[in-house]
C-alpha cells in the first residue's frame, strides 16, 4: 500500500466520520458537535492565528467560529466536504473580524506601510513556531492574509478577491509582495 492510498483512505474515513457527526449536530446533538470541534478546531485555530497574527484574537475568533457554526450548521447541505465548508465559514468570520477591528486611525495611517522589520508582534507568541510562520506573522496585514489564503489554504486569487472585496490584480500583487518580503526576511537568517 503506497502513501497516497493511505492518505486517500484517511480522508475518506474522516469524511464519513464528519458526515455522521454533522447529521447528528444538525439535529441538536451537542456531543456530536463537540466531536466535530475536537476534529477541526486545531485547523481552524491555525487559520485564525495565521490570518490575525495575534494569539488572543485568534482564540476569541476561533471560539466565535464554532459558536456561529452551531447556529449555521443547518445550512450545510453536503454539497462540499464539511471541512471545506467550515473553512470558508471561518475565513469569512476572520475577514469580518479584521474589518471591524480597523479603526479610523488605522485607515488613515495604513498598517500596510508596516514592514517586516518594524513588526511589533510579541515574540512570546512565536515560541514554538517555524521560522517561516514567524516571518508570515510579521508581514503587513493584507499581504499576510492574501499569502495565507493563497499559499497555505489553497484559495484562488478570484476567490480571495471576492472575499476581501478587492480586484483580482490586487490579490496577485499582494501575494507577490508577500513572497518578496518573505524571501528577503528568510535570506537574512
Amino acid at each position: 500500500m503506497n502513501t497516497s492510498t493511505v492518505i486517500d483512505a484517511q480522508q475518506l474515513f474522516s469524511h464519513d466520520q464528519d458526515s455522521e457527526l454533522v447529521t447528528r449536530a444538525q439535529q441538536g446533538d451537542q456531543q456530536a458537535f463537540h466531536a466535530l470541534y475536537q476534529l477541526h478546531h486545531k485547523r481552524v485555530y491555525a487559520l485564525c492565528w495565521r490570518m490575525l497574527a495575534d494569539k488572543d484574537s485568534a482564540e476569541d475568533v476561533c471560539q466565535e467560529v464554532f459558536v456561529q457554526l452551531w447556529q449555521k450548521i443547518g445550512n450545510f447541505r453536503g454539497e462540499s466536504k464539511f471541512a471545506t465548508w467550515l473553512h470558508s465559514v471561518a475565513t469569512n468570520i476572520v475577514l469580518g473580524h479584521l474589518r471591524k477591528q480597523k479603526n479610523w486611525l488605522q485607515r488613515v495611517f495604513s498598517i500596510e506601510e508596516q514592514r517586516v522589520e518594524e513588526s511589533n508582534t510579541p515574540m512570546s507568541d512565536h515560541a514554538e513556531l517555524s521560522l517561516l510562520d514567524q516571518k508570515i506573522q510579521a508581514l503587513p496585514e493584507r499581504a499576510r492574509v492574501v499569502f495565507v489564503l493563497f499559499a497555505i489554504e489553497g484559495y484562488r486569487h478570484e476567490e480571495i478577491a471576492s472575499m476581501m472585496k478587492m480586484a483580482v490584480g490586487s490579490s496577485k500583487a499582494q501575494f507577490h509582495r508577500a513572497k518578496s518580503l518573505l524571501r528577503e526576511a528568510l535570506s537574512e537568517q
Binding site: 478546531h41 485568534a58 476561533c62 445550512n75 524571501r183
Partner: protein
C-alpha cells in the same frame, strides 16, 4: 551573509508548515456556554409568545368566520391582501437570500411549530377577508402575522457577535 531564497524553496517551506495549531487555552467551555445561552434566548423567550399570539389569532378568526355576514360586492381589501401577501413573499425570499438561504426544514420542532402557527393564522385571515372584504382589522392582523414571521426568521438566522 545572505542565503538566497528562491520561489521553489519558499514553496517547499510552505508545504512543510503544520496545518494544525493548538490554542493555549481550552476554547470549548466558552463555546459551550455561548451555545447554552443561545438555546435559552432562542428557544424559550422569543418563540412561545409568537405561537401563543398566532393561536389566539386563529381562534378569533374561527369565531369571526362563524358569525360574519355573507360576502358583499366590494373586493378591494381582498385585492390589497393579495398584494400584501405577494410583497411579503418577496421580502421573505430576499431575507432568506441575505441570510444565506437556510434550509427551513432543518428547524427544530419547536421553531417549526411557530412558523406553522403563523402560516395557519395567515390562511385563516385570508379566508376571513373573503367573507368580510371591508375589514381593516383583518388586514392589520394579516400584516402583523407577516411581520412576526419575518422577525422570527431574522431572530433565528441573523449572525450575532457573541461575547464569550
Amino acid at each position: 551573509m545572505k542565503n538566497e531564497i528562491t520561489d521553489v524553496s519558499l514553496q517547499q517551506q510552505v508545504d512543510e508548515l503544520s496545518k494544525e495549531m493548538s490554542p493555549e487555552r481550552d476554547l470549548w467551555p466558552g463555546i459551550e456556554k455561548a451555545m447554552a445561552k443561545q438555546s435559552r434566548s432562542n428557544v424559550k423567550r422569543p418563540f412561545y409568545p409568537v405561537a401563543w399570539a398566532a393561536t389566539v389569532v386563529v381562534a378569533v378568526l374561527v369565531s369571526w368566520l362563524s358569525f360574519s355576514p355573507q360576502p358583499g360586492t366590494s373586493t378591494s381589501n381582498v385585492d390589497i391582501a393579495q398584494v400584501m401577501q405577494q410583497d411579503f413573499n418577496e421580502q421573505k425570499q430576499l431575507m432568506l437570500v441575505n441570510l444565506g438561504q437556510p434550509d427551513l426544514k432543518q428547524l427544530s420542532p419547536d421553531m417549526q411549530k411557530q412558523f406553522d402557527e403563523l402560516k395557519k393564522a395567515q390562511q385563516a385571515i385570508s379566508k376571513a377577508l373573503e367573507n368580510d372584504p371591508t375589514s381593516v382589522e383583518l388586514l392589520n392582523l394579516l400584516r402583523w402575522t407577516q411581520k412576526q414571521e419575518l422577525d422570527l426568521l431574522k431572530q433565528i438566522y441573523s449572525p450575532k457577535w457573541q461575547t464569550i
